[in-house]
Symmetry: D3
Subunit: 267 residues, 6 copies
Amino acid sequence: MQTLVGTQKGSIYHLEINRPKSLNSMSSQLFQDFKAAVDLINKADDVRVVVLTGRGNHFCAGLDLKEAPLMFQFHEDMDQARKSIRIYDLLKDWQLAMTSLSRIKVPVIVGIQGYCLGGGVDLITSADIRYCSEDAKFSIKEIDLAMAPDIGTLQRLGLQNANTSLFRELAYTGRTFSAQEALKLGLVSKIVKNENLNEEIFKLAELIATKSPVGCYTIKSILTREQNLDQHLDVMARTNMAMLFTNDIPIAITSSMTKTKPEYPKL
Amino acid sequence: MQTLVGTQKGSIYHLEINRPKSLNSMSSQLFQDFKAAVDLINKADDVRVVVLTGRGNHFCAGLDLKEAPLMFQFHEDMDQARKSIRIYDLLKDWQLAMTSLSRIKVPVIVGIQGYCLGGGVDLITSADIRYCSEDAKFSIKEIDLAMAPDIGTLQRLGLQNANTSLFRELAYTGRTFSAQEALKLGLVSKIVKNENLNEEIFKLAELIATKSPVGCYTIKSILTREQNLDQHLDVMARTNMAMLFTNDIPIAITSSMTKTKPEYPKL
Amino acid sequence: MQTLVGTQKGSIYHLEINRPKSLNSMSSQLFQDFKAAVDLINKADDVRVVVLTGRGNHFCAGLDLKEAPLMFQFHEDMDQARKSIRIYDLLKDWQLAMTSLSRIKVPVIVGIQGYCLGGGVDLITSADIRYCSEDAKFSIKEIDLAMAPDIGTLQRLGLQNANTSLFRELAYTGRTFSAQEALKLGLVSKIVKNENLNEEIFKLAELIATKSPVGCYTIKSILTREQNLDQHLDVMARTNMAMLFTNDIPIAITSSMTKTKPEYPKL
Amino acid sequence: MQTLVGTQKGSIYHLEINRPKSLNSMSSQLFQDFKAAVDLINKADDVRVVVLTGRGNHFCAGLDLKEAPLMFQFHEDMDQARKSIRIYDLLKDWQLAMTSLSRIKVPVIVGIQGYCLGGGVDLITSADIRYCSEDAKFSIKEIDLAMAPDIGTLQRLGLQNANTSLFRELAYTGRTFSAQEALKLGLVSKIVKNENLNEEIFKLAELIATKSPVGCYTIKSILTREQNLDQHLDVMARTNMAMLFTNDIPIAITSSMTKTKPEYPKL
Amino acid sequence: MQTLVGTQKGSIYHLEINRPKSLNSMSSQLFQDFKAAVDLINKADDVRVVVLTGRGNHFCAGLDLKEAPLMFQFHEDMDQARKSIRIYDLLKDWQLAMTSLSRIKVPVIVGIQGYCLGGGVDLITSADIRYCSEDAKFSIKEIDLAMAPDIGTLQRLGLQNANTSLFRELAYTGRTFSAQEALKLGLVSKIVKNENLNEEIFKLAELIATKSPVGCYTIKSILTREQNLDQHLDVMARTNMAMLFTNDIPIAITSSMTKTKPEYPKL
Amino acid sequence: MQTLVGTQKGSIYHLEINRPKSLNSMSSQLFQDFKAAVDLINKADDVRVVVLTGRGNHFCAGLDLKEAPLMFQFHEDMDQARKSIRIYDLLKDWQLAMTSLSRIKVPVIVGIQGYCLGGGVDLITSADIRYCSEDAKFSIKEIDLAMAPDIGTLQRLGLQNANTSLFRELAYTGRTFSAQEALKLGLVSKIVKNENLNEEIFKLAELIATKSPVGCYTIKSILTREQNLDQHLDVMARTNMAMLFTNDIPIAITSSMTKTKPEYPKL
C-alpha cells in the first residue's frame, strides 16, 4: 500500500491516508490500496475497531484532478457505446473501493480535519461513525466538475437525509460548508476542538473495543442491509438463531453482575 | 393482564406498565400481556387515543435479566439447528409483542420518565408520538449483553435515522444518553418538565381525540406501510376511494365554517 | 394559465401562484395549470432554475373549499364502487399535478411566506429547495377536514422523516407550526427575514444557474429515483456512461484552473 | 373443528374438508377452523407432512353463497368509510385463513378431485404440492359474482404465471377448465386416475416423511419468502449459519454410504 | 389517428393497425396514435373489451427502419451527454406508447397473424390475452439491429418467463419462431386456424363483455401492479373496501340463481 | 486452473469441468478455479460466447462429499456464533463462485449429459442457455444430505418457476428426474440426441458469435438485474442512452439491406 499507512495498536487498527503533499487527494493507486487494506483488515481476526484519518492538515481533497484525463483515454476507433462500457466498469470499480469501509466487519470511526471535499465526502458516508474538528471544511464539489457525485454521497446521504432541501442546495451549488452544517446534515455526529480530535476518536475506539465482537458484528451486519421493515425484522431473527449462542453473553452477564470488565475472545 | 393496567377515561385509553419493583423490566408475562392489551383495545371501538406510561419512577429498564436463562433451556439431545429454530420462533413472538403498538389502530402516545433502556427503546419506536421528561435516561443497552437489539431499534430507528453516525455510536457503545440527545436522534419529539409530563401527554391525547377517527385511522394505516413512493401514492388513492365518503367530512366542514366543535361518531 | 404567472429572466423561470384574493388556495384550474406549466418549462431548453412563490401575503392556503363539493357530484344511479373509481381517477390526477415539481428537469426553489397549509405542504415537498420567511405559518391541515393528506405530505415527508414523533403529532393534530419547527422537521432548510426572502432565493437561483446543466440534470435525475442502495449505485454508473462525455467537464476544469467563470451551453 | 377432520397416521397429518353436502364450500366456520388447524399442526412436533383433501366427490366449491349476505350487514347509521373499514378487516382475516397452508412449517400436499372453484383455487395456491384426478374441474369463478379473487389466486398464481395470457382469460371469463389446462397453468403438477389419487399423494407424503425435517423446514422457510435475488442468497446463507449444524447431516451421510434408511429425530 | 382504425361494435372496441403496405411496421406517427387511441378508449365509458389486430396479412413487422435515422439527427454542436438525454426522452416516450395497452382500463385481446417481429413483440406483451393463427411467425429481432429490445419484451417477458433458457436463446439469436414455440414461451395462449382467428377472438371478447365491468376493472387494476406478496394481498383488500359495494354483485347472484343472463350497468 | 480446461476457438471460449474420475464433482479447488476462469474470460475482449461442458460421461455430480467434513473443522474453543460466522463466510464465497456464470459478460451456453446433481443444478441456473442430451439425469439432491440447496437453485429456479408444485416435489424428495421433466420445469430449453449435443451447442454458439457484441452485452446486462417493472424500463432507457450510439447499428442495417454477413468489431 503506497498511499495508505496501517498500524495496529492492540485491537485498534489505525488507517491513515498518506498523500499529504496532494492534500490526500484520491489517485487510482489509492482506490486499489483501499481495497487491499480492507481485505487485510478483514483477515486480521484480532482487530476490533478501525480508525481512519488523513496525515497532514487535511482529511481528503477529493479526486486527484491530474488523473482525471486518464479516464478518458480510449483506443481511437472505439465507438461511443464501447467507451461507455469501459467508463461503467471503471465506476463500478471505484464504487467498490469507496464503499469498502462498509465491507470492514468491525466498526469504522473517521476523524476529519481540514478539507473533506468531493470524493472525500463519498468516502466517509460508508463509515460507521464520523467526528470532525472545528476547522473542518466540507464540499459536495462534483458539480464544479460538471458531474454528479457517483460513488456514494447521493445514494447514502442524499436519499436518506431528513433535510433534503439543505442537501440539494449543497449538491447543486457545491459550496463549502462548515462543521456546524455538517452536523445538521447528519454527515458528522460530533465536533471537537482541533487539538483533541485524535484523542477523542481513539477514546471512542477503545471503548468499543471492550464490547463483545459478536455483538458489534451483528449490529453492523444488520445495519448495512437494505430492505423493508418486515424482511428486516425477519433477517434479524434468522441471524440471531446463531448469534445468541455465543459465550460472550454469559461473559457479559457475569461482568455486569460483578461490575468487572469483561474479556471477550476474538472473533 | 398481570403486568399492565388499563383504564379508559372517555375516549382515551391509559395503559400502564405495572412492575415498578423491577423498574418495569420486561418479563415473558409482559410480552403476552402486551399482545392481549392490543387485541382488547382494537375491539373497543370507542377508544380514540392510547397513552402509554410506566408506573413508578422509571418507564422501562429493558429485558428482565432473571428470565434470560429460561430462553436457553432446551431438551438435552437437541442439536444446534433445532435449538436455533426454537430461538427463532421465540424472537418472532417477541417481535410481534414489541411491534404491537403499531398494530393499535388509533394513535399511541408514550410518556417516558427515568430509565428507558434496551428493550424499552425497542418498544417505544413503534409508538406514534414520544414525549419524555427532563430526567429521562436512555440506553441502547443490548451490546452490554453481547447482543444486537433484535426487536425494533435497529430496524425502526437505525435504518431511517438522519444522523446514522450518532445512532451507531450509541448502538456500539451502549452508553447512557440524555433527553437532549434523544431529541436530536428523533427518538422523542418534546422534552417537558418532570412534573408536567402526564399533563402534557393527556392534553395532546385529548386534542387528538376531538379529530375525525376516520382521518386518524387513514393517516396511521398509511404511515405504517413500507414501500416505494409510486406505490405509496397509489395505495393512498386506493384507500381514499372509500375514506372520502365518510360523513366526518361534512361534519368537519360545517364545524370549520360555524367555528363550533365537531362531534364525530365512533369508528 | 389563469392561476399562474410565468416570467423568464435570463435562465431563471419565475412561477407565481396568482390567486391572492383566495390566499392562493388550490382550485381545479390551478391543478391543470401546474401540469401545463411543467410541460412548458421542460420544453424551454434555456431554463436552468425554477423559482416558485405566491403573489400577495401568503404562499398557499391549501385546497379551495368552495370546490370540494364538486368532487362529490355523481350521477345518481351510480353505485359505491363506480363512485370510488371516479374518486381514484381524480386523486391520481391531482397527485400528478402536485408531484409535477419533481418532473421539472431543472432544480426548483420555493420561497414561502405567510400561510402554507394543507395542499400547500403537499406541493412544496416535491420541490428541490425550500426557504421560508420568519413569519411563515404551516399546517398539515387535512385532519381538520377528516382526511389524510393524500397528495404527497405523508409519502414524501412522513415516511422519510427523522423525527417521526414530531411529524405524526403535526399530522394527527393539524396544529399550526412555525418556521422554526418547519426547519427542525426538514420541511425548509433556511429561515430568512421577511423582506429578504425574494432576494435570497433569487441569489441562490443565480448561483445554481452558473453550474453545468448536465451536472444538475444528473443529480436531480438520480435523487428522484426510488430504490435500494445497490441498485442505486448501479443506476448512477449507468447514467454516467453517457454523462461523463459532456463538454461541460473540460469547460469546468479549465474554469477551475484559470479561475474564470465557466460558460456552459444550454441543455 | 366442525368443518375439518384431522387424523394423524404416523408422521403424516391428514386434514379433510368435511362439508360434503355443501360440496365442501367455505363458510365462516371453515375459515376459523383452518386457522385453528394450522396452530394445532404447528404445535405437534412429530408431524412431517400434511395431506389435504375434501370428503365426498368434490374438493371445494368455493365460498358458501348462503353466507355472503352476512358480510354486508352493517349498523344502519354507519357511513361508507366505516363500512369499508369493516370489510377490510374481514378480508384480512380471510386472507390469513386462506394463506394459512403456507404458515404450516412442514410440506403440504393437496389432492383435488371433482370441483375446485373460486375460493378453492385461492386455497390450494398456498399449498406446496398439488395433484389432481382426471375428473377435476377448476374455475376462477369470482368474476361471475362481479368480484376479483381477493384471497390468493391473483397474487400467487396471476403475478408469477408464465402464461399470463391464459391466466387472464380464465380470470376474466370464469370459465371451467380441465385438469389438463390446470397442468399447463402450473396450478397442479400431476394428473392421476380418479381411483389412484389418494394412493399417489400418500405415497408421496410417505417419501417426504423419510427426509430430514431440518432440511424440509429450511427449504419451505426460504421458498415462502419474498425478495430480490441478492437478498435471497444472503438470507439463505444466514439461515444455514444454524441449519448446517444439525445432526441430520451426519445421519444422512452415513445412511447414504451404508445404503440404509436414515432415521431422523423429530423437529 | 392516421395509422390506426377504431370501430366500436356494441361494447367491443376494435382497434386495427392500418399500415398494410409497410407490413404494419411502427412509425413515429403510430406511437402518437397509440397514445391517442388509449385516451379515447378510456374516456368511452361504454367500452368493455378492446380487440387489437393488424390489417392485411401481417400483424406488425416491428420498427419502421426508414424512420430509424431520424432518431440520430442532432444539432451538430451537441456533446454526447446532451445527445444521450434526448435519446432517453425519446425512449421513455416510446415506452409509454408501447405499454399503453396496459393503461387501457378494460381487457385487451390481441389476434396475431403473419409476422409479429421486434417492436411487435414488445407491443403485445402489454396486452391481456394473446391468440395467434397457425401461420404466425415471431422474432425478437432487435439483436439483428445490434440492439436490445428496450420497450417491453425483456422486461415483461424476459424477467418473468419460466423457461429463461429458451427466452435468452431467442433474444440472443433473433431467430424466427413458430406459433408452437410462442405457446411454449407463454407469449400466446392459444393457436387457432388462420381462417378462424377473428371469429375466435371476437367470441372471447363477447363473452368477457357480458361480465361485470367492476369485476374486470378490479382484476386488471391488481394484475398490472408490481410488488411483493404481502403488499399485494393488502392492496387487494384496500381496493375491495370499495369494490364489494357494487350493485353488480346482487345482479350477479340473482342471475346465477335464476339462470338468466345478467345485465350490468356501464362503468 | 487445475479442475477446469479452457480453450478458445475463434471467438468461442470452451470451458470444461475436468474431474471425470470424480464424476466432475465440486471440490474447493473447483470453486476457486471458477472465479479465476470468469476473471480471465471477462478480460479477454475477443470472446463472444462461452460454452460450458463436463469431460467424461457426466456433467457434474454435485458437491464432492470427501470435502464436506473440512467445512466443519473449527478451533475447539470457538462458540457456536463464531462457528456460524465462518460458515456464513464460506457460503458467501461459494455463492460467489456458483453465480459466477452470470458475471461473465457474454452469453454462456451449457451442454449437459449424464448426471447433473445437487450443486450441478445450482451451477447451471446461472447460465444463459441450457441444452441437455436425452440421457441426462437431474436431481435437486441436497435434501438427501439434510440440507436446503443454498447456492442458487431455490433462488433462481424455485422462486420464479411457473410450476411451483413440481419444483417443490423435486426439492422435498430429491428424486431423480429426466430430461423431459427438466424441459417442463424450464431447467433446460432443448433435448438433443446424445451424440449431437456438442454439435448443437457449438452451432448455437457460432450463431450468437455473429451478432453484435454491444447488443448481446446490453441484453445480458438487463436480464441479470432484479427490480420492478417501472424501474426496469427506466434502467433500459438509461443504458441505451449510450448503447444506441454504437457503430454496430449502421453495420447491422447495411448488412440487413445488402443481405451480407455483418462483421462487428470486438467489444
